[in-house]
Structure formats: structure tokens, C-alpha cells
């Protein structure tokens, strides 16, 4: 019997197609904005995850506050084998300012050892990373982030050129591939020099010592973390003195945050869905009024109240579903446009398709029920008299 109801309703929608199309507008806008925002959010999440993953998912950060110097300077070498650490580097950082075209540009300076390039998964576009020889002999060698050459050496050869850092000349030995911005700042505005230089350049260094560690494998990352933790707890009495977290933990937190943001934004966008729904209700009420005579005729011919109700309800749902499909198409086009003009790769998944259908059907039912009830309650004689 549902097929019959559907056929009647479908026939009526087709009979009033222009109105139906106009009615869908609210739902089109609502569905398109929700789907687009959600997909945008999800794409941003994927983007962030990829970026972090590109740094290396075996990566562990350790940050230590040790004023008394309780921890041996060689602590990482001591546990390297037992904790299944493949490589590590301490990092001492600071900033230096350069004048570029009359304005100040801050550059982050990271003092690291020769393993940092591996630990942080850096790829080089030119030259090489700092090597053992540079670090052991404390040579004035510098590796530049990808934005630095254009900024500080416009129209010049960079490799082999000299960069002054805090008044000291350094020879450029390599340039890192573009990495983008993440929670540790703009990676492309960083330069890397042997760590002993930064120890003297930035003697205050900050309260915390930072270490970058790569576990031997992603599966054993928990083992590595627990071994490091138990080692640190032997030397540092308070657990406030050290923090240890992995790349994947950061990824998790970031992902949760972005998911929350996406939900929030989509939630705001879904207000437009409700507005669209109210529009549907209005137009359905007008429709019911305009078609009072039709309702009277149908009742005279034997339509029960429920049959009229279901007819108008299905009409509303057909219209909103149509709106959902159009909205989905619009958001698909929107996604294509955003993908082509920005760095975002916005993808509409099956979940978007499903969701827009669920949204539009729900809106149709919720906002179609009242007009449909009005239609079903009309008295046949009164309705027939309607001009």
C-alpha cells in the first residue's frame, strides 16, 4: 500500500514541479552547507594527520625540567638499547631576528645533533643535513627551512653561502623540503645548527630540556615510552619534572579537537537546515490551503484521513529529499571548487551522501507532519465548497 501512497504523492509533486523546486531551496542550502562544512572539517583533519604522520609516527617527545642536574648528560645513550630507541636528538632552541625589506623577521634556531634529520623525517631539497663531523667538531654549519633562502638570500646561490647568526658566520650546507605549519610553528622558518652553539647562544634555554626520540618500531612505541618513563622516574623524584608523549598521542588530541570543531561548525550550519524546514512547513501549509478543493474531492471519493495525511507527508518528504539530492550536488561542486583553488583536498564520502539523505528525510517528516495533519482534518463539505 505504501507504493500507492508514494505514487499519489509523487504524481502530485510532479504536477506542481515549479513550486516543489522552489520549496527545496531552503533544504538545498541547509544540506549543502552542512555537508560542505563537515567534509571541509574532515579534510582538514586528514590533512593535519598526514602532516603529523609525515614527521614520523615513531616519534616520541620528552621534555624534562632538571635544575639540579640529577639526570646524567648521557642518559639517552644509556637506555638506547634497552628502550629500543633507534635514534635521538636533544633540541635547544631560540630565535634570531633579521631585517628584511625594513621589517623584522623572526627565524627559529634549533640546535640539534646529526640524528635530528632522521628523527624528524626531514627531506632535503639541496645539500645535506648536519653530519656527525659538524656536530662532534662543533663546525659552523647551518641547514635552512624551505622559506629561508628566498627571504634571506634573494637572487643568490644559497649552498656554501654564509649566514650570520648572533654575529657568527655559518656556512649553509643544506635546505629542507617544505613541511608546512604545525603545533611547533612554521617548520619552514626554522634553521638547524649543531647543538653546542645554541647551548652557548641561549644559555637560559628555558626551563625544559627537549628530546626527540625515534622508537625502533611503531608497534613497540609503548614499550619505549614506558622504559624511558621508568628510567626518568629513578632520577627525577617528581613526575611533574618530565613529560613524555608520542606523535600518535598528539595526533589523537589534535584529531579530537578538530572533530569537535567540525561538529560545532556543522551544528551551526544545521540551523540553516531548520530554517529550511520551517520554509517547507510554510509552503506546505500554503499548498494545503490552495489544494483544499482537491482534498475535498479526494475525501468525497473515499480518501480516509490517514490517506490524506500520508499523501501530504510523503509529498513533503519527496520535496525535501529532492532538496537533499540537489544540496549534495551543490556541495559536491563546492568541494571541487575548494579543492581546485585551495590546498585543501575536500572529499565527499558515502557518509555525506547518507547523511544528507537522512537529514532531508527527517526535515521532511518533522516539518511536513503539521501541514499534513491540517490537510487530513478538513471537513469534506467545507473543503468542496472552497473556491
Amino acid at each position: 500500500m505504501f507504493k500507492e501512497y508514494f505514487a499519489i504523492a509523487f504524481r502530485s509533486v510532479v504536477a506542481h514541479k515549479i513550486r516543489a523546486l522552489l520549496t527545496t531551496l531552503g533544504v538545498v542550502i541547509g544540506v549543502a552547507s552542512v555537508i560542505l562544512l563537515m567534509s571541509l572539517g574532515n579534510s582538514a583533519r586528514t590533512e593535519a594527520a598526514n602532516q603529523i604522520r609525515s614527521i614520523g609516527s615513531n616519534l616520541i617527545y620528552v621534555s624534562i625540567s632538571d635544575r639540579q642536574g640529577a639526570l646524567p648528560a648521557t642518559w639517552l645513550s644509556e637506555i638506547q638499547e634497552k628502550a629500543q630507541i633507534s635514534a635521538f636528538s636533544e633540541m635547544v632552541s631560540g630565535t634570531a631576528s633579521y631585517q628584511v625589506d625594513g621589517s623584522n623577521v623572526d627565524v627559529s634556531i634549533s640546535g640539534v645533533n646529526q640524528y635530528y634529520g632522521f628523527v624528524s623525517n626531514l627531506s632535503m631539497t639541496h645539500g645535506r643535513f648536519l653530519n656527525e663531523f659538524d656536530v662532534d667538531n662543533n663546525l659552523p654549519a647551518v641547514v635552512l627551512g624551505s622559506k629561508i633562502p628566498d627571504l634571506l638570500f634573494p637572487n643568490q646561490g644559497v649552498l656554501g653561502n654564509t649566514l650570520y647568526i648572533k654575529g657568527m658566520p655559518f656556512t649553509v650546507v643544506g635546505i629542507v623540503e617544505e613541511r608546512g605549519t604545525n603545533f611547533s610553528g612554521d617548520n619552514d622558518m626554522m634553521i638547524y645548527i649543531p647543538i653546542d652553539y645554541t647551548r652557548t647562544m641561549f644559555p637560559m634555554g628555558g626551563r625544559f630540556k627537549t628530546f626527540y626520540i625515534t622508537a625502533e618500531s611503531e608497534e613497540n612505541i609503548d614499550l619505549t615510552m614506558s622504559r624511558v618513563t621508568s628510567y626518568l622516574s629513578n632520577y627525577l623524584p617528581s613526575s611533574n619534572q618530565y613529560r613524555i608523549f608520542s606523535q600518535s598521542q598528539i595526533l589523537g588530541v589534535l584529531d579530537t579537537l578538530m572533530a569537535l570543531l567540525t561538529t560545532l561548525l556543522s551544528g551551526i550550519a544545521s540551523i540553516s537546515l531548520i530554517v529550511g524546514g520551517i520554509g517547507i512547513m510554510n509552503i506546505m501549509l500554503v499548498t494545503v490551503r490552495e489544494r483544499t478543493r482537491e482534498i475535498g474531492i479526494r475525501k468525497a471519493l473515499g480518501a480516509r484521513r490517514q490517506q490524506i495525511l500520508v499523501q501530504f507527508l510523503i509529498e513533503a518528504v519527496i520535496i525535501t529529499t529532492l532538496g537533499g539530492i540537489i544540496g549534495l550536488t551543490v556541495s559536491y561542486i563546492g568541494a571541487q571548487i575548494i579543492t581546485s583553488i585551495t590546498d585543501f583536498n575536500v572529499v565527499l564520502g558515502w557518509d555525506a551522501v547518507l547523511l544528507s539523505l537522512v537529514f532531508s528525510i527527517t526535515i521532511g517528516v518533522i516539518f511536513g507532519i503539521y501541514p499534513a495533519m491540517q490537510a487530513s482534518k478538513l471537513e469534506p463539505v467545507e473543503a468542496l465548497r472552497f473556491e
Binding site: G302, R304, V381
Partner: protein
């Protein structure tokens, strides 16, 4: 078959009270062709709405085929209209966006007749009223007489025992009006009970019995022979 006892119908519009029907008693038997005549405002349409179960009485009783109508609810009345009564209106009351055959199929849809059967029956009925070649036309593409014939086909869709026609020729010229009445006459000869409401004495000539209403009461109720002596 139709048994009306002391029926009144009262309309209240603010302080204005209209007794559209003011104590009507009459019986109509199976196979009759009854004309209900009377001046405008005499209560003819109101009476038809009550006979057709579109409206309910204010007081009195209406029994249709042993069914006491006032004890039934809206949905049960819808079923009775669907099964037992075929309506023909002055303004045809076809749905404008549907084709002739779709209009004729409608009562069968509400009777839950299967689609194939509906189409077959509707096509047959349109054939009978002489519109076999106009089945897929919309009402606006048909003349008044043709539209009224579509609505007659629709009235016959579920094989009702009673055909109720309120001013069926009111919107037609006299020639097509006559054709429509002839069609109703044929239905009557085939066993349908036909009740025609009209203010036109000419139309009443087709009937076997003429009931005249005045101010919501039966002024006269005569067999044809008595009317035209």
C-alpha cells in the same frame, strides 16, 4: 435503501441561524430516478451532502442500506462514500493536473484495487461514456460535456448503487446537458439508483419521481405521471 426521518440541518453563523433542512422525511428505493427540485437556497445541496455522507444531520436519522449513518465516524463514512455512492458535481470537480483516466482511477485507488485492474476498469468506463480516445487528456483539454462524462465514469468506478448528481447540467449548454442526462437515464435503466438535484424543470422530466423542496421542507413528492398530466 435510503431512509430519512425528521432530518434537520442547522447552520449557525454568529447570531444568524439557518435551518437549511427543517424536518425532512423521505424514502428512496433501489432503482429509482429521483429529481430534487426547488428554488435556490431551499436546501437541495444540503440534502444531497447528507444523503452522500459528506455531512451529518443536526437531528433526525438517516439510514442507508440498514446503516445508521450518524453512528459512523469520518473514516467509516469515507469508506461508505467510496463503495456505495458516486458523486457528480456541477463544477465536475476533476483534479486538473491529472489525466482523464487518472481521475477515473482515483476512487479505486482508495478502494485498494490493484493497479492493473484499475487501469482496465477505468479505460472500460471511459469507453462506455464515449471518451475512449480521450483517456490521456487533462480536464483542461476537454469540453465541459466531456469533463462531465469523465466525472460520470469516475462516479461509476467502484460500482456504487447510488449516483448523486448536484446540478449536473448546470455548467453545460442544453444539448450536452441532455446527453449527460440521457447517460444518467441509461445508468438508471441498468439498475443504478439516480438522484439528480436541479432547479430546472426540463431536467426533472428525465426522472420518475420529483421531490420539491421549499425552505428546507418537502413541498411535494410526486411520481412522474402526477407531475406532467
Amino acid at each position: 435503501m435510503i431512509n430519512i426521518q425528521e432530518v434537520t440541518k442547522r447552520y449557525e453563523m454568529g447570531s444568524n441561524i439557518v435551518m437549511a433542512l427543517d424536518g425532512i422525511t423521505l424514502d428512496i428505493h433501489e432503482g429509482e430516478f429521483v429529481a430534487i427540485v426547488g428554488p435556490s437556497g431551499s436546501g437541495k445541496s444540503t440534502l444531497m451532502n447528507i444523503i452522500g455522507c459528506l455531512d451529518i444531520v443536526t437531528s433526525g436519522t438517516y439510514v442507508l442500506n440498514q446503516i445508521p449513518i450518524q453512528e459512523y465516524d469520518q473514516d467509516e463514512l469515507a469508506d461508505i462514500r467510496n463503495q456505495q455512492i458516486g458523486f457528480i458535481f456541477q463544477q465536475f470537480n476533476l483534479l486538473p493536473s491529472f489525466t482523464a483516466i487518472e481521475n477515473v482511477m482515483m476512487p479505486m485507488t482508495y478502494a485498494k484495487v490493484a493497479k492493473k485492474q484499475r487501469e482496465l476498469k477505468a479505460a472500460q468506463l471511459l469507453q462506455t461514456v464515449g471518451l475512449g480516445d480521450r483517456m490521456d487528456h487533462k480536464p483542461t483539454e476537454l469540453s465541459g460535456g466531456q469533463q462531465q462524462r469523465v466525472s460520470i465514469a469516475r462516479a461509476l468506478a467502484n460500482d456504487p448503487a447510488i449516483i448523486l448528481a448536484d446540478e449536473p447540467t448546470g455548467a453545460l449548454d442544453s444539448k450536452t446537458g441532455k446527453e449527460v442526462l440521457t447517460l444518467l437515464k441509461t445508468l438508471n435503466s441498468n439498475g443504478k439508483t439516480v438522484i439528480v438535484i436541479t432547479h430546472d424543470q426540463e431536467v426533472a422530466r428525465f426522472a420518475n419521481r420529483v421531490i420539491t423542496l421549499k425552505d428546507g421542507r418537502v413541498a411535494s413528492d410526486l411520481a412522474k405521471e402526477e407531475v406532467y398530466v
